[in-house]
Every structure is written in structure tokens, then in C-alpha cells.
Symmetry: C2
Subunit: 343 residues, 2 copies
């Protein structure tokens, strides 16, 4: 098993990806190939006294800028680490690709080279978000601002495959994010999606309201990329708002600082629960091979965990599970009119 890692993605490249790769090789026994400027990778490793023994290198002379238009990735940046990584994945020179670079460019490059799984209308970005008792998969969380009902149904099938293949859940509970629990709630997109979700072979538990999601109401929260993006960002924003409040509360005086020492374990539990690095990155689901988008601010630990996540995608046969789910969905949906695929 060879995991390709973009050495030039994210705010802390290339040092943290290199460190993450070294740790992952040691800890998980996987092969890792760093994709990026070879000379710079070697120089950075040397400077930091890191041995690249056992780590593969694949040269990519360019870097896709974070703010560049994603649609330019293959034409204007064909030598970027994202484009090269996706091409290597396509050519079977790696089994999965992890990058903390430009999300849109990663989605675009993977869709154009590795291609989507047959039958998938649009690839989607899933994010594991902490909640009471663990985490839930929020998808789509930003790849597709405009969605059709059948796309939401495919997100559900993909999310179910991921949570069963990687997180080991037997029958992941799939919820549709909506503005009420009754079937007829929401706009036409969500009403139609609800009708499809009821028919397909997943454990659909119905509509979920955003209020219930932090309490672990579902294992997969299915939503369009616009709402999903708002949910993800508001969760981050309120989490950071609360953390700031906690900090302010405990640093008011000597007395409150003492109080902090007395509840330190609890605060640390909270920090650990909210720590995105624990869960790795965001799987880009719908692509024919595992692609993981690591957080832009990933450190070595986050990269290591994203590599573990790629390994788990392969071991849990997430792609195969998605294909099976799609075939079952097609079988049960054959009375419904076919919706044309979108490019």
C-alpha cells in the first residue's frame, strides 16, 4: 500500500508533511511517497535532521497557489504537486492521495484525472465533525453549492459507505439536514431528496434539525454544499468563540487561574474532543480512488492521521462499498426517471 502525500499543500509545507510521512511509515507500516520539489524536500529534511529513509519521492516542480482559480489546475499548473499527485494516482503509482492544498483544485484535478466512480454525478467533500459521543460525517460541506435531489441521495450512499468502511459502523444512521423533522418540511430540493432517501437501501432516519446534530443525532448529516459549508464554518466559529470565552473566564484573576488548574482535565477533554487533527482530513468521496483533503493548517500529527485515514479507506474498501451501494440504489430506483449526469 503506497500513500501519495502532497508535500507542498497547507500552511506548514513542506516540513509538517515530511514529519507526518515519517511518523506514518513508522506507526502504520505503510509506504508513503512525498509529491513535490525533490530538492526542496531533501533540503528541508536535512535542515531539520530528518531521515527520508523508506520514504518515496515523486518530483513536482510547481505548487498550486491556495487562492488560484481551481479550474486552472491542469492547464496552468500541470506540474503542481496536486496535479502530479492525481496523475500518479490515476497511473496506479499510488493507492491514495492526501493533500492539504487548494480544495477546489484537488477536487478538479482528481475529477479530471482519476475520474469519478461510474454513475456518480458529483464528487463531494465529507468532513468528520466532533459531536457528543464521537463524530459525524457532514457532507457535502462545500464542493457543490448547488445540488439536485439525486445528488443528495448519492451523498447519503457515499457517506454510509465511508462510515461503515472506515469508522466500522454497522448501519450508519443517515439524516437529512432540514428545517423540521416532518417529511414535508424544507424547500423543494429537500422534500424531493427526502422522498428518494426513503426508498434507497441505507439506514435513513429522516430529517434532522441542526439543533440536534451536536448531540449525535446522526452518523451522516446529508446536506447541500451551501448549507453544509455554513454548518461547518459556524461549528468552527462557535467552537472558537466558546474557547475564547473559557480562556477569558479562567484568566480573570489569580483565583480563576487556580480554578483552571482544578478543572484542567475537563478543559483538556474538551480540547481533545474538538481537535480536528484527531480525525485526519476530509474524504473527497465519489472519486474512483481514495483522496483525502487535509486541513490547511495541518501539523505532522494531522498529516499522519490523514495518511491513516487513506489506509483505512483502502482497507475498508470504501470505493467498493460505494459501488455496491450505487448498484443497489439503481436497482431500487429503476421506476424513477433517470436524471442526466452533470459535468
Amino acid at each position: 500500500m503506497n500513500i501519495l502525500l502532497d508535500a507542498f499543500g497547507g500552511d506548514n509545507a513542506p516540513l509538517e508533511p515530511i514529519k507526518g510521512a515519517i511518523e506514518a511509515v513508522k506507526e502504520y507500516g505503510v509506504q508513503v511517497t512525498l509529491v513535490g520539489d525533490e530538492e526542496k524536500i531533501r533540503a528541508c529534511a536535512k535542515e531539520n535532521n530528518l531521515s527520508l529513509e523508506g520514504i518515496g519521492l515523486a518530483h513536482a516542480g510547481d505548487v498550486m497557489p491556495m487562492c488560484a482559480d481551481p479550474s486552472t489546475v491542469m492547464k496552468e499548473h500541470p506540474d503542481s504537486s496536486i496535479a502530479v499527485g492525481c496523475n500518479l494516482l490515476k497511473e496506479h503509482k499510488g493507492d491514495a492521495f492526501v493533500s492539504a492544498g487548494n480544495t477546489g483544485a484537488l477536487l478538479m484535478a482528481a475529477s479530471l484525472t482519476v475520474r469519478r466512480i461510474k454513475g456518480i454525478k458529483r464528487a463531494a467533500l465529507g468532513t468528520l465533525v466532533p459531536c457528543q459521543g464521537g463524530c459525524y460525517l457532514l457532507m457535502d460541506c462545500g464542493a457543490n453549492a448547488e445540488c439536485r435531489p439525486d445528488m443528495l441521495a448519492q451523498f447519503a450512499v457515499m457517506g454510509s459507505a465511508y462510515m461503515s468502511g472506515v469508522r466500522g459502523l454497522e448501519r450508519p444512521r443517515i439524516g437529512l439536514v432540514n428545517n423540521g423533522t416532518e417529511e414535508n418540511k424544507g424547500d423543494s430540493l429537500h422534500r424531493e431528496a427526502h422522498a428518494i432517501l426513503k426508498k434507497i437501501p441505507i439506514n435513513f432516519i429522516g430529517n434532522v434539525e441542526a439543533r440536534e446534530i451536536p448531540f449525535g443525532a446522526c452518523d451522516v448529516a446529508v446536506t447541500d454544499g451551501f448549507t453544509g459549508n455554513a454548518i461547518l464554518k459556524l461549528t468552527e466559529g462557535l467552537g472558537s468563540f466558546f474557547s475564547k470565552f473559557l480562556k477569558g473566564m479562567f484568566t480573570r484573576s489569580t483565583k480563576t487561574k487556580l480554578a483552571f488548574l482544578m478543572v484542567k482535565d475537563g478543559v483538556n477533554d474538551f480540547k481533545k474532543m474538538m481537535d480536528y487533527t484527531e480525525y485526519g482530513g476530509a474524504p473527497l468521496l465519489g472519486i474512483a480512488k481514495p483522496v483525502i483533503k487535509a486541513h490547511g493548517s495541518s501539523n505532522a500529527k494531522a498529516f499522519k492521521n490523514a495518511i491513516r485515514q487513506a489506509k483505512e479507506c483502502l482497507e475498508g474498501d470504501v470505493i467498493g462499498k460505494i459501488e455496491t451501494g450505487l448498484a443497489q440504489m439503481k436497482e431500487q430506483m429503476k421506476d424513477l426517471p433517470e436524471v442526466p449526469a452533470e459535468e
Copy 2:
């Protein structure tokens, strides 16, 4: 100034509305008329040793059930406190109406009797949500799951009028909730809305991401009712999740309980900041007279504050400000094609 208060709306009716009315009369010197079953109101007041002196009563023999289809309010429940209250408002027998009852029914009854302000396509529900440094107005937060760009622009004008008229802000900062700060971000609804918002005479600060909203990024967060509903409910859900965590952290042991006593002020400040009763209710904007939707779980204090809010809407001439804003918007938009009003 006579504020009509639905005595049979919300989980704690009629006792808490009665208490809220009595407190408001004392504290704000307004006239309050309780709308609902007279006999039951008198009996409840007597049972609780409350004097109704100075409080008006307007009889309504029926109550609109919380879960009933809102569209049935005028035909099947014409004697409900919501329908009667709206009719009294229409007939100038009151200056504003406050209810903690069925939100959809209140919107429907107000739209059908009091009617919308001339030119307003759809009334919207604004909610004051706590954030760093105070609160922001989120609108629409659920009245209109499906929106058009010009509706979002009207929400902005109405929100601006409210925050200037009631909260005294000179130039309320209007943000459009979107999945990125750049102009071209979002789905077609949000891109088109952005283009209109730039042209109209409000203090439009551009797109805001949900991550920034808890930190007070804008005074009015303009959004469609579907996304707004998700934002409101997720804020409530994460707030309650966080409170639960705090409680768990401080009740672990005798030591942590002691720590709680040492930071109690800070915890109380947080509770106060997150307390919806401080801000009153949600203004239903776009109706020709002030209508306030109080929270379903309102207590006396929340009703009192919602009455104060109705008074402030009248004193701050929110309706007049909306009319002025609409006229200015029309003037600046006259090159753009007219979008037909929707019923």
C-alpha cells in the same frame, strides 16, 4: 400606545403572558391588552393573586394549536387568539401584536389581515442572536425556505431599519451569509443577491462567512430562510452542547465544584449573554404594523421584553424606516427589471 399580547401563545400560557403584561405596564408605562379567553385569564389571575388593574382584555375563545397547519388559521381558527389579535391590529384597536404561538400561523394571519407593507414581496422572521459584543439580527430565519435574490435585498432593507430604529445603530453593517468572502462565491441566488445589495442604499459590508458571525462580523446577517434556520438552530444546539459540557466539567468532583464557585461570575456572564429572554422576541418584518414572535418557551421576563421591543418598534418608527428604505431602493434599482410580487 396599546400593545396586544396573545395570552394563549407559548408553553407557559396564560400565566406567564399575564405576569409579563403586568410587569410591562409597571415598568414601561404602556397599555397592554391580553387577547384570549377572558374567563380563563381572569381565573388564572385570581388563582395566582395577580391584579389585572390597568390591563385590557379582548376575548378570543379558541387557541391555534402549535402543530396545526398554519394555512388553516383564518378559516378553521378565526376565533383563535392569533387570528383575533391580528384582526384587532388591523382594525386599529392596538398598535402592535406580540405572540408566542404557532409561528407559521402568526405569519399567515398577519399577512392576511394586517397585510404587508406596500412593495414587500414576503415578510420575514428576524431573530436577535447573541454574539461577541452584543447581538446580531439573523433574517430570514425560517419564514421563507425558498427565496429569490430581490427578497434577500428586501430582508437587508428591513433588517437595517430594525437595527437602526430599535437598537439605535447609526449605520447597521449588513452582511450576506455566503460560503466565501469573494463576490463571485455561492450559488446563483447568493451571487445575484450580492449584486443587488451592492447597489441599494444600505451599509452593505459584503459576504460574511458563518465562522465570523459569532464574533460580531455584522449587525444584520441576511440569508434565505433555509440556511438561516440551520444557523439559528445550530447556534442553539451548540450553545446547549457547550453548557452541558461546562456543567459536566464542574460537577465531576468536590474539587471541580469548588472551582465552579471560583469562576461563577464568568459562567453567569456567559449565561446572561446567551439568554434569549434579554432580547425579547423575533420581529416579523414586512407586515404593515409591528408584530413580534416571542419564543415558545417564554417566561414573564421574555414577554415583558417582547412588549418593550414592540414599544421600541413603534417609537423607532421601524415601519416608516422600512418604507423609506424601500422607496430609496426602488429609486436606485429602476434600471433593473421589476420582479413580480409573489403571494
